[in-house]
Amino acid sequence: MSTFLRTVSAETAKITTTRMWWVLALVLFVYVLVLSGGLGALFGAGSSGSLPGGTTGEIPTTGLAPLLYSFASSIGYVFPVLLGALAVTGEVRHQTLTPTLLATPRRGLVLAAKLVVLLGFGALFGVIGLVASVGGGAGALALFDIDTELGSSDTWALFARLVLAMALWAAVGIGLGSVVTNQVAVIVIVIAFTQFVEPVLRSVGALADWIGDIVRFLPGAASDALVGASVFSAMAPGQESLDWWVGALVLAGIAAVLTVIGALTTWRRDVT
């Protein structure tokens, strides 16, 4: 086996031998399941007139299914980012960088292996998120006799793009962790940016076209464009999003730029 493949196996083992990955996967699953199921039931009840004061057909059900399914990434993307970031910062925090670099004294190779492994785990998180969003969303829709659109090839294409988006998000996490190696700082940055800064900026984007032109290149917006459906585009239908493949390139570009910056700066520092 080549050194790179051995390093990839070792990096995989590093993730599977601690609890972090399945704790994050479990929270992702429950979070997405509850939201897609809950909102699916709410919309379903609204459109069928089961809610008090409602009339049948008041809320259109077109596009409801893909919207619910996309919760796996539009809401769940913070989890692969955290897993990716912690895969780097955890090594600094627990000083496991020493044994890692003793076994593989080529730092660029270690970072590249982490990137490959996290793309895989990100995709796995995508699948887990989808099981939750489809389980909750389609389950709720079926209760109200709304089309789950699971027979449509468009829906399955969305699933594939969603898994790609989650894989890229984990790579963004690696890049972020290699630039900001302080574990607490990186968690604060991820949570603040994904849960506060970007949602606010994207809401502001609805106010003017020129702002919208900029904010659609934000990672969350690029990810939603890649997946092709999201709560955000549903809330601000006027905004034009990127083509799906441009969204993918933007996310991959962010991951690549961050990782290269990290590799050339903090990752080269003395390990003391």
Binding site: K14, T17, L102
Partner: protein, 298 residues
């Protein structure tokens, strides 16, 4: 064990800002011997070892294994086994998995993981998370990591710290055994007495600079000898010794005569007709010589 090499530190300097933690340090470590790498805390031992292992970049100079830097070793864990002072373990990972990750990265058979766990006496705790380990158990796990690739060179930073007396005895015999198999063994410590019984050679540094390097025996050559002598009639003894031209200092338990052997003092007293109550040769000891060397550099 396939690859036995020397350790070559050649004019290595490491500056952290304006401070030189290690300054133009050179020494060589030979195979088949245990070499003690000694110096007080903060002398630059750990920095030197980390430069040797490619973890810290030297400001100047080269630290290699027989001319090859660590990062260019074809199979690092099979060539050099290192255990560094910092407890570098993920608390949530078991000891077995910690070693498996390293074995996977280096293409070492999984059976070797169980072998080294048994060797360091951790077999029954192998599936426990390292977070619950005592300092002594972490030291043993660090040693297991070092031995994983059956390397020809061992670099151990303060391996005795935190071990109980039984563990200390065990590691001393392990170090001897590893060297007798022909391996190069470098062991750092801030206490000479800690490694005195197991080392053949010593490299002593203070403030980042070399103060002594050679065999352990070469260290005792610098010893100063004196004699503690006493007699019921102490003042008569003092007069007799002074008359014979010796430098005498009064101490609570007798008189200290510097730079002579006990025989000469005894003869002088005998010739003066003074019966002695005690006559004792005093050597300053290796630890004193060590401290003198280290402090002389301050």
């Amino acid at each position: 064990m396939t690859d036995v090499r020397t350790i070559d530190i050649e004019a290595v300097t490491k500056r952290f800002g304006p401070v030189a933690a290690v300054n133009a340090l050179s020494f060589q470590v030979q195979p088949g011997r245990v070499t003690g790498f000694l110096g007080p805390n903060g002398a630059g031992k750990t920095t030197t070892l980390r430069m040797l292992l490619g973890l810290v970049r030297p400001s100047q100079g080269r630290a290699t294994f027989g001319g090859v830097p660590y990062s260019e070793l074809v199979s690092p864990l099979r060539t050099v086994g290192a255990a560094l002072e910092a407890a570098s373990f993920h608390p949530g990972r078991t000891a077995r998995n910690h070693l498996r990750v390293a074995a996977t990265a280096s293409g070492i058979a999984r059976s070797r993981v169980d072998e080294v766990l048994g060797l360091v006496g951790l077999a029954e705790f192998a599936d426990r998370r390292v977070g619950g380990y005592s300092l002594g158990m972490r030291q043993r796990l660090g040693l297991a990591f070092a031995l994983l690739g059956d390397p020809g060179v061992l670099v151990l930073d303060e391996p005795i710290n935190g071990l109980d007396p039984e563990g200390i005895k065990w590691i001393r015999s392990l170090l001897r055994a590893l060297a007798s198999e022909g391996r190069t063994v470098l062991v750092s410590s801030h206490l000479l007495s800690e490694v005195q019984q197991s080392v053949d050679d010593v490299v002593i540094i203070a403030r980042g600079e070399l103060v002594h390097s050679g065999t352990l025996a070469s260290l005792s050559a610098g010893d100063s000898v004196s004699v503690l002598v006493d007699a019921p009639d102490r003042s008569a003894l003092g007069d007799a010794l002074a008359a014979a031209g010796y430098a005498v200092t009064r101490a609570r338990s007798g008189l200290i005569v510097a730079g002579v052997e006990a025989e000469e003092v005894g003869r002088t007293a005998f010739e003066a007709g003074i019966p002695l109550s005690s006559l004792q040769r005093q050597s300053s000891g290796l630890e004193d010589t060590f401290l003198h060397l280290v402090e002389g550099n301050r």
